[in-house]
Symmetry: D2
Subunit: 154 residues, 4 copies
């Protein structure tokens, strides 16, 4: 569904920019998440299971699931923004399809529409276990490019 | 908008049940969140600012904001469920109204409609600073009561 | 939660502008909806029940419920925009709390945050019957002000 | 992402059931929509452009776009439900990617996860014009199977 022309990166340094911005997200270090894939309109973030990130039934907390996929979606949008722009999450919506049980989780953000200001991004989080890979959450998010505002720059 | 009859608690031990379930959410300890208010259809969770919970511009990460308000909404729904039921997040949607900047944050979950299985809950997160209180996020969430399923019990 | 300063109207002719724009929404005439309240940050739209607007169980179709509350939210945002701006729906999310059964329906849009470009609006649809008023749908919407784009002007 | 086993239809008469239920949705006749594709987990609905279904800029109203994709998503979920069950929309979220300009529109609902009670469905609406096909809206919806409730049966 993606428009090929709109998917062209505006900043040749987009990989470095995403990696640097990811490194500044202190929550990623706190929970142990790493950046594993960056391409135009695409970002993946991986997170090993940890028992100190759970909800009351021992599954990964929905908020942690959301933390990694929000960043994946935001950085996916950032890959297509011009140098000097910063990215902000306007809103997102997530459905939770199955308990977040697994040894590791991967959040994937994929840009569906890249506008000058507003980008729409689809996200999913899969849980990996010996039994295979299972989608546990689906996100539909709206990201915004901001320039010269409040020191927001990526 | 809440229906008074539907708002009646089904379990006289609802306060203890919410507190116990909250205590089992290991992510709450990890980020430093505490349960500060429990009433029929209402739960508040507080979180002091910490520099290791941030996104790239130094604000609280949207995923952390979402973590506390998801729990506030889920436990608000749990206050009205019968003993033996567990609560699961089916889905939520959040708008982010302002950067999550402040000394402390409070997430408030308020049940709008409590059905036998499906509950709809409104959530908000406010940031507190010397300048006052500011709403930084609004959530609209759907929670489900599950009984006798997969060992899910609260 | 609304910020009083942000709620100040930017166009003294906002009532006329909303009424004119509503009159150009041909779907409103088609379904029989009318504009019943316009104030800064607030718009109501009324719709009598009609058997030709229903889903399979004889209730008002969720899409029709959404049509009137989307317009109420969009025009609520427009009341606070400067002259010359047009309003577009970026996205919305609706929960359906009860079957849309009643003699008449009222959609209410209320601006929660009015930004220069992005506005967040809360909406609800109530059903009226001899038994009273009942909330059947809750919306959380994101609207955008556009200027000088594609002939979009309200 | 769909689970093959979960995608198995539970009612061999699912095509007839969807067609009959669609025929009872009076709003579909009112706006001129038709059912064009029914398969396990999949439903398409087509709608020719009509000037009496528009918003203020002459594009198809977002509520009309939502009406056809809500039905497509709901009926897609219904294809996988057991005989005797009815389908209700719990909630949906739609992003609007481009103005709904075109000669005709097609709404496509595709089940992502079919649970015993809760189904998650992805929807999209494309606009067709001499220039080709363009996605104008993306939906993520939650549908519920109800049995023996309030005369809700499909």
């Amino acid at each position: 569904m993606a428009d090929a022309k709109a998917m062209q990166r505006k900043d040749p340094q987009f990989r470095t920019r995403v990696a640097d911005s990811f490194a500044r997200q202190t929550i990623m270090t706190t929970i142990g998440a790493t950046l594993t894939h960056v391409a135009p309109g695409e970002v993946d973030i991986a997170l090993p299971f940890r028992p100190d990130l759970c909800q009351q039934h021992g599954f990964l907390h929905a908020g942690v699931v959301t933390t990694i996929v929000d960043s994946a979606c935001g950085f996916a949008a950032l890959t297509l923004m011009p140098a000097g722009a910063g990215v902000l999450t306007i809103e997102f919506k997530s459905n939770f399809l199955a308990p977040a049980a697994g040894d590791a989780f991967v959040a994937r953000g994929r840009v569906v529409r890249a506008g000058r200001q507003i980008s729409v991004v689809s996200g999913e989080v899969v849980a990996r276990s010996p039994a295979g890979e299972k989608v546990v959450s689906l996100m539909q998010a709206t990201m915004m490019a901001v320039t010269g505002t409040d020191g927001v720059k990526d």
